[in-house]
Amino acid sequence: MTLFQRTIRELHQMLIDEEISSVELTQSVLDQIDAVGEKTKAYLLVTRELALRQAKGADERLRANRDVRPLTGIPIALKDVLCVQDVVSTAGSRILKGFSPPYSATVIERLEAEGAVFLGKTNCDEFAMGSSNENSGYWPVHNPWALDRVPGGSSGGSAASVASGEAIAALGSDTGGSIRQPAALTGIVGFKPTYGRVSRYGLIAFASSLDQIGPMTRDVFDSALVLQAIAGHDPRDSTSSLRPVPDYLSTLRNGVKGMRLGVPKEYFVAGMEPAVEQAIHDAVRLLEQQGASIQEVSLPHSDVALPAYYIIAPAEASSNLARYDGVRYGYQAPGAKNLIEEYMATRQQGFGTEVKRRIVLGTYALSSGYYDAYYLQAQKVRTLIIEDFTRAFEKVDALLGATSPTVAFPLGAKTQDPVAMYLNDILTIPANLGNVCAISVPCGLADGLPIGLQVIAPGFREEIALQVAYAFEAATDFRKLQSPLMRAAA
């Protein structure tokens, strides 16, 4: 097996045994980027020199056995919504072309402290708005399992990089499913922690009451390792939780024997592909065979989660994106006569179609006369969704369902129909609105395309989601499945 195909856990062992160096490992991943990068288009920027410099530093740390951490020397890709000091960070938007952040996100500082190696910035939908990566202001990403298909979004570049061997792990961000859905569509593990578990400081904001950063990895063990490194309170993000971070590895292998797992009947939605539905039923049965007790549960307001989200997220986005005015950073339209003309031209030329659509929708929902009917009503529906989860978690320890109702679809299939595109997130949005955590883990293939099982656990019970996902993964061979791009280069 080639180095770039391995997991963090395996590579960490090889690094501490001095079987390999971080420089060799990093070079192996950079070579794979050279080999397949033009096919996936997963990266917006590859930070080759930075990566090799960090790898050398990691090797010194490993040789001296000085504060060696699980991620020391491990090459990681970063979604372009994360600010890295002096490394161009654009959130996939033309309006931030060339933007060089004056500071790094807290998650970046934490990975640096671990001694991780930064491969570069991964492509994403502009300002993380999208489910196919086709809203990138630069270029679309191609799914390593089938290059004519989307990788999902908005963390499509991060997902494709991990699935193609162009990164060992990646960070993504998830506002309505942007980690889990692309993870499902590319056959990797994607984890959206509870809101407040990971600091958002330095994350380019989309919808501030929903955004959360999380790991995208080859397996559940690696997901636990990355989450452990990035979770915890940050004084620079007052919305980050003061709750202590548990040791995720200590409970990972506890299995599901005696656990109560719920299957929300509302999660078998109209339009779900039969192969996806079958894979979820099979996954539920497998967990039952592993000793879990299964019961059907109801989340009665699931059908209004999507409409509530498409009010709340655009409303928050319309406010957050007001900062792109062409004055302090980013693109400035030339030739305007006065300030307001400059604002309007800068934003017209700098933002892409989907971002503009959401700014208009969000501003409309917040405008006088519509506020109560749309924004306030959506916030009340959010309360109903939180209550749905609270009631369900009185009966069960975790919930099981599909991550996406479909497998990866062809590029261009949904770009003309925003509503059809929004339906991709129908099963992932409730976890964001409901303030719970959720992980997607591979659970099969349909015609050679990956399917994801979603495990939802109560707020701040990430260890439960990891434990269930790990038990499922350990009882199956799905984690050994590799995309054709990853296999071909071996």
Binding site: P102, Y195, P307, R328, E342, M344, V360, A373, E387
Partner: protein, 100 residues
């Protein structure tokens, strides 16, 4: 006050875009109007939910009134803050005239 049920008009799209300081072309006005009508009709299900007995959730935080100690801390140096400015003068961001 306009009825939320009424169909979104081109004038409203133009008005909202202006509020958002977003320049849009006449062609975009029509396209966004039609797409937003479609989106809003899909979102209409929202109104069927009975929310008469629940408060609104603006954020999911447990903490309240997070304060830090009132200590002097370092801040971003002027040069770092200005390094991405499209237009600057001395230690300032340079902007166009607000009034003629």
């Amino acid at each position: 006050m306009p009825e939320p049920e009424s169909e979104l008009s081109s004038r409203e799209v133009e008005h909202v875009a202006r509020l958002a300081r977003l320049g849009i072309t006449a062609e975009e006005v029509v396209r966004y109007r039609d797409q937003l009508r479609h989106i809003l009709s899909a979102i209409d299900a929202l109104k069927q939910a009975d929310t008469s007995k629940v408060p609104a959730t603006a954020h999911p935080l447990e903490e309240r009134n997070v304060m830090r100690d009132d200590l002097r801390e370092s801040c971003l140096p002027v040069e770092a803050a200005l390094k991405n400015a499209p237009s600057r003068e001395d230690s300032y961001f340079r902007v166009k005239a607000i009034q003629e």
